[in-house]
């Protein structure tokens, strides 16, 4: 959820009335936004850097509003105001018109447009710059997908060329600098700039850097890093040339549409945008901005059913119009024609329209209903068995533990006296810390770590866990499967093998398995590096090995930082289903 900061008084002025904080909070909530914080620049600085630094900062109240991540049209004051006004039926959603033509010769994936006769004030200018920033962060994925450049059209002359040149050949005076630099020099200059250093990597290693020239060879910008100083926008700029260069054409078009729709309201002919014609190297031409108004037909019955309300068709059309989706009843049955403006690139399917209708209706107003169809429930058999076992194991005096499913490589191998290559473990490519490198193949380390963390508790410590481990399995489409295991540990002054063995017998009793070879279970002495020699046994069920139990080897105890002897049991649960 990106956060947009707007000056409260400017906001209220644009909205045409003032609100109390609570009223505005309510309004935001109805519209699907959240008023996150009410603060001022001064407060922000004093919170982050200390009260003394904040003394010169502005006291003006700022509203920080959370907007949904896919609503690019709400990322600036202008967009917010427009959305809210239309929602409150104070304003009709404006239609943006395309005018005239301008040419620009470009390589793939650059789009452009012109805003004519625009009037900037300080606030609008700030808002303009901020919108670019927000879009860069948001839909442009930190400038890697799209980069926006805005220029004072009167300082340069078209047609403009978007090309790529070796870094040494690019030379210009970048924004807010006093002298010219080559592109290579700029890379090192901006390495220390807190704002720009994050974007350098996008083009740093490429043999040629992108650059935009005008017909006189003046550099407009070197996307995605920095614009030229020559064409920079000031408060006096009257004509703005907006260009977006991108690796994703769809996103570039969306971004361009956003920029122009938001700020064309300040042009002398409000809501009018001048087209730019883009010429591709193969001679193909395209006009931008597309500003496509898409029409979609759907039935009010569809909306009523999905949302769970029952409104007449006209009312539905009104609700949608409130959300900037201008709608009209066509008169054919309960059909509504919805016009989706370019500002709503988040509306991709009829269900998005339906969602907006629900928001306009108010989610809190939708009545609760119970489902009409009756269904019979079913437990997943493995879970059913697990639940039953858990109850009885707690009744047997053992306490349930809940441990991490991810652990370090050592936990399942070295610490238990085993080799990592023999464990069939699934390895994580990008673990957050070394504690989470593999998915666990055994529940034992988790229990032992739990015991180690609870050494201060009175003895004996009796723990159990019934949960999944992950093992590699080539027969599955993903190459791995889960296996439900049961693990128990007894930690006391004496190892208590008989206690763990007793627990095993009790578990078998619960599972209705006889203590007999063949059709039941039996245990047999075995060697295992995790356990103390001579005190380890393997559990067999119907002739197959399903687990082992025994007294833990002192080396294992030492590696897990345990001071007392400990006996443990681990067994596969799935064969008993």
């Amino acid at each position: 959820m990106p956060t947009v900061g707007v000056k409260r008084d400017l906001l209220f002025k644009a909205l045409g009335r003032t609100y109390t904080d609570e009223e505005f909070d309510e309004l935001c909530f109805e519209f699907g936004l959240e008023l996150d914080e009410i603060t001022s620049e001064k407060e922000i600085i004093s919170r982050e850097q200390g009260g003394s630094k904040a003394s010169g900062a502005s006291d003006v109240i700022l509203y920080k509003i959370d907007v949904p991540a896919n609503r690019y049209d709400l990322l600036c004051l202008e967009g917010l105001v427009r959305g809210l006004q239309v929602f409150k039926n104070k304003l009709e959603a404006p239609r943006i018109l395309n005018n005239e033509r301008r040419t620009a010769a470009v390589r793939p994936h650059a789009v452009a447009a012109v805003l004519r006769n625009i009037t900037f004030t300080q606030e609008r200018y700030d808002s303009f710059i901020e919108l670019q920033d927000k879009l860069h962060q948001n839909v442009c994925r930190k400038r890697s997908l799209v980069a926006i450049g805005t220029h004072d059209l009167d300082t340069v002359s078209g047609p403009f060329t978007y090309t790529a040149k070796p870094p040494g050949d690019i030379r210009f005076k970048p924004l807010n600098q006093t002298k010219e630099y080559t592109a290579a020099q700029l890379m090192s200059l901006y390495k220390t700039d807190s704002h720009l250093k994050h974007f350098l990597h996008i083009i740093e290693d490429k043999p040629a850097y992108p650059v935009i020239y005008d017909s006189n060879g003046v550099v407009l910008s070197m996307p995605p890093i920095i614009n030229g100083d020559h064409s920079k926008i000031s408060l006096n700029t009257k004509n703005v040339f907006v260009e977006c260069t991108a690796t994703d054409l769809t996103k570039a078009k969306i971004v361009l549409d956003m920029m122009v729709t938001m700020f064309s309201e300040y042009c002398s002919q409000p809501f009018t945008v001048e087209e730019a014609e883009v010429v591709y190297p193969d001679g193909k031409t395209c006009k931008y901005p597309e500003l496509a108004y898409r029409k979609e037909k759907l039935s009010s019955g569809f909306i009523n059913r999905k949302v769970g309300i029952n409104e007449p068709t006209e009312k539905i059309a009104q609700l949608l119009t409130k959300m900037c989706l201008r709608s009209e009843v066509t008169g054919v049955g309960d059909e509504i024609q919805v016009e989706i403006p370019p500002t709503r690139s988040d509306v991709i399917h009829a269900c998005d329209i339906m969602e907006d209708a629900a928001m306009a209706y108010g989610f809190n107003n939708i009545p609760y209903t119970t489902p009409g169809t009756y269904t019979v429930a079913n437990q997943f058999p493995l879970n059913k068995l697990t639940e039953l076992l858990r109850q009885d194991l707690a009744a047997a005096g053992f306490t349930e533990a809940l441990t991490f499913a991810l652990c370090s490589k050592e936990d399942i191998s070295d610490k238990l006296g085993k080799k990592i290559s023999e464990t069939r473990a699934v390895h994580i490519a990008n673990p957050k810390t070394a504690e989470f490198q593999v998915a666990r193949t055994t529940l034992l380390p988790g229990l032992l770590k739990t015991i180690a963390a609870n050494r201060k508790m009175p003895l004996p410590l009796k723990l159990f866990e019934i949960s999944d481990v992950v093992l590699k399995d080539e027969t599955k489409d993903v190459g791995a499967r889960n296996s439900r295991r049961f693990c128990a540990a007894y930690y006391n002054k004496s190892p208590g093998f008989e206690v763990i063995h007793g627990l095993l017998d009790r578990t078998m009793q619960l599972l209705a398995v006889k203590a007999a070879r063949g059709d039941g279970y039996h245990i047999q002495a075995s060697d295992d590096s995790t356990f103390f020699p001579g005190r380890c046994a393997e559990i067999f069920f119907r002739g197959k090995s399903v687990g082992r139990l025994g007294v833990l080897h002192p080396d294992v105890l030492g590696r897990f930082e345990l001071a007392m002897p400990c006996s443990a049991l681990e067994m596969d649960v799935e064969p008993f289903l």
Partner: protein, 407 residues
């Protein structure tokens, strides 16, 4: 229980006296150790209100080991003095004596002896005065005889510093008759026994009163984990509503089922390195239903089923990447696909699906892991809308998809 002899003697003593007796005095007069008497007092107290004993403490000074030695043999410095014959004694010889070192320095400071360093045969010690008064020994003797009050506080503290004296707190009891005093001791029974029941002797016996203020014996029981208890309750609620549990026992999932089939675009931030755990081994999945894969690809890149799609190049390599399942909706996707295949079969009945299990997105890591030995998992619910799924699935009739996830 102390010797009944002591108990009865004590009781008789108390009986004779009007006000009470001091335990120390009784101990000395009976010739028993004070602790034995204290034991007797405690036993009597346990029997009810036979006696009442008031704790008193008194302090007095006692000689420590070294102090006793000095009291008997004289202080170190005095002994040093005493061991020097008229012709003097070699210093080295003096030091050989046990009291030599300490006594020497003290005697010097008292100016009782002097050293002739230049003497032939080594430094030699001579007496300076004829007689001495062994004040230290006298003071200690006073204390030993019990007249410590004759000494000033300052002197006592000085001797305490030299570790010759110590102040000892003695606890004694002032014992008086209790409300139900008697010279005979009736032993109270603690518990009913089978023999008493058998021979009916319980009717004549007196029983020790219970202390109802104390706690009982805690039963040695096992416990279920609190989070698991909550999960059990959730399961119960959904089962009662008629939902069927989905099989979620697969933590490893392919990006295809986890993201692509749920219409999440491939460049979406949730698929970043930061927010999803990818696997290095096994790295890739295979075996996707080919027709379905094509449909998913089409909807992402071109649109379809009423959707505009995202209009980007959809790559199958991205979909093959294995991850730790970030949400159980991935299981829902598989289930819905399966149901859709089944719906051609007759006998399909309505069912709701619920998977109560874990998802493993990057952000869960930030929450999990408490300081206790039982790390916590964050539980949350999401509602599924069928509409976006329909873009990727053929329409399913007759099956109800109220799917809710419990990670």
């Amino acid at each position: 229980m102390a010797d009944t002899g002591v108990l009865e003697t004590l009781l008789r003593r108390i009986e004779k006296v009007d006000d009470g007796v001091d335990s120390l005095e009784v101990a000395t007069s009976l010739g028993v150790d004070h602790q034995v008497l204290v034991g007797a007092v405690k036993s009597l107290q346990a029997l009810g209100d036979l006696i009442s004993a008031e704790l008193r403490s008194s302090k007095h000074w006692e000689l420590l080991g070294e102090g006793t030695e000095i009291a008997e043999q004289g202080s170190h410095e005095a002994r040093v003095f005493g061991s020097i014959p008229p012709e003097g004694l070699g210093q080295s010889e003096l030091m050989k004596l046990s009291f030599g070192k300490i006594g020497f320095s003290k005697a010097m400071s008292n100016k009782w002896i002097r050293v002739d360093k230049a003497h032939e045969g080594g430094p030699r010690i001579f007496r300076t005065v004829e007689d001495i008064e062994d004040q230290v020994r006298e003071k200690l003797l006073l204390v030993q005889r019990g007249n410590s009050s004759k000494l000033e506080e300052k002197e006592k503290n000085e001797l305490k510093k030299r570790k010759l004296l110590s102040e000892v707190t003695v606890k004694s009891y002032w014992i008086t008759k209790g409300s139900s005093f008697s010279t005979t001791i009736t032993k109270l029974e603690t518990e009913l026994t089978p023999e008493m029941i058998a021979n009916g002797s319980w009717k004549e016996k007196k029983f020790k009163p219970y202390n109802f203020e104390a706690m009982g014996v805690a039963p040695d029981c096992g416990h279920m984990h609190p989070l698991m208890k909550v999960r059990t309750q959730f399961r119960q609620i959904f089962l009662e509503m008629g939902f069927t549990e989905m099989p979620t026992n697969n933590f490893i999932e392919s990006s295809f089922w986890n993201f692509d089939s749920l219409f999440q675009p491939q460049q979406h931030p949730a698929r970043d390195q930061h927010d999803t755990f990818f696997l290095s081994d096994p790295a890739l999945a295979h075996g996707f239903p080919p027709d379905y894969l094509e449909r998913v690809k089409k909807v992402h890149s071109e649109g379809g089923y009423g959707s505009q799609g995202y209009k980007y190049d959809w790559k199958v390599e991205e979909a093959q990447k294995n991850i730790l399942r970030t949400h159980t909706t991935a299981v829902s996707a598989r289930m819905l696909y399966k149901l859709a295949q089944q719906e051609r079969d007759p006998g399909c009945h309505p069912s709701g699906r619920v998977p109560p299990d874990r998802g493993r997105g990057g952000r869960l890591r930030a929450h999990a892991g408490g300081p206790h030995g039982h790390p916590a998992r964050v539980l949350h619910q999401t509602r599924d809308y069928q509409a976006p799924l329909q873009a990727g699935l053929q329409p399913v009739h007759g099956a109800q998809h109220g799917s809710v996830q419990l990670p």
